[in-house]
Subunit: 142 residues, 2 copies
């Protein structure tokens, strides 16, 4: 199984570092984030080391998210949250702090100080069609 | 296939409303968000209507995310982004604006004005162990 000997999350997978594990299966381990954005904030990580989600085979990527419904129900029960964010920061520019793919489940309440900075824009006329064509081309080349 | 006759995203699935579709398969449709946080911001939705991810069968939830590696590579190529966020807001308190499960892929650059409000805390001694036990109990009851 791919592993990076310097990776904190690989050490948690190998039980060389402690973590408050709440769930695990053959593909993933789920534990409390030690720097929680809210009580009960969970991290879901693959057992295998991938620094970027774009390098994960589709089946591995699917496995990373397959427990989210179950975990989400437990999260809402345990924390009393009204909702939650599923958040994966991919790349340093996106806020990825540990270079082993990980997905945050962040409990949310209407009154909290969390959430994404929602600075939405609009496309100028025709720009959306240009981008759509560029996506079709990029996807056809993969 | 479950559908909500008032749902904007169900209407996109049924091709009753237009969308800038960049990818689709038997489970999902992917299109440009009309109110983008950044150029090339994508929405991934399941063809079936679920208002909450906690109601999705694990296989459907997996299918929602299986194309993320492929889409992520295309997104970085098309937009020149250095990274991206995978974000699913579940519940109004979490920022969910359309009540049909949808996952945002938000292109990110180091210099942008986006990202999650990262107000991290610490657990008081023993609180993490209490929460871990509560998660074990909640997950055992499912």
């Amino acid at each position: 199984m791919p592993r990076d000997s310097d990776c904190v999350f690989c050490k948690i997978v190998a039980v060389e570092l402690p973590a408050a594990v709440v769930y695990e299966n053959e593909s993933i381990i789920v534990f409390l984030d030690v720097n929680p954005l809210a009580e009960g904030h969970l991290l879901v990580i693959p057992r295998e080391h991938y620094s970027s989600i774009v390098d994960m085979p589709p089946t591995q990527c699917s496995a990373l998210f397959s427990a989210v419904p179950t975990l989400g129900r437990a999260l809402m029960k345990v924390t009393g949250a009204e909702g939650f964010n599923v958040l994966l920061n991919n790349g340093r520019a996106a806020g990825q702090a540990v270079s082993h793919v990980h997905c945050h489940l962040v409990p949310r309440k209407t009154t909290d100080d969390l959430g994404y900075r929602w600075n939405a824009k609009k496309y100028s006329p025709g720009r959306d069609a240009q981008l759509t064509a560029a996506y079709h081309e990029a996807l056809a080349q993969q």
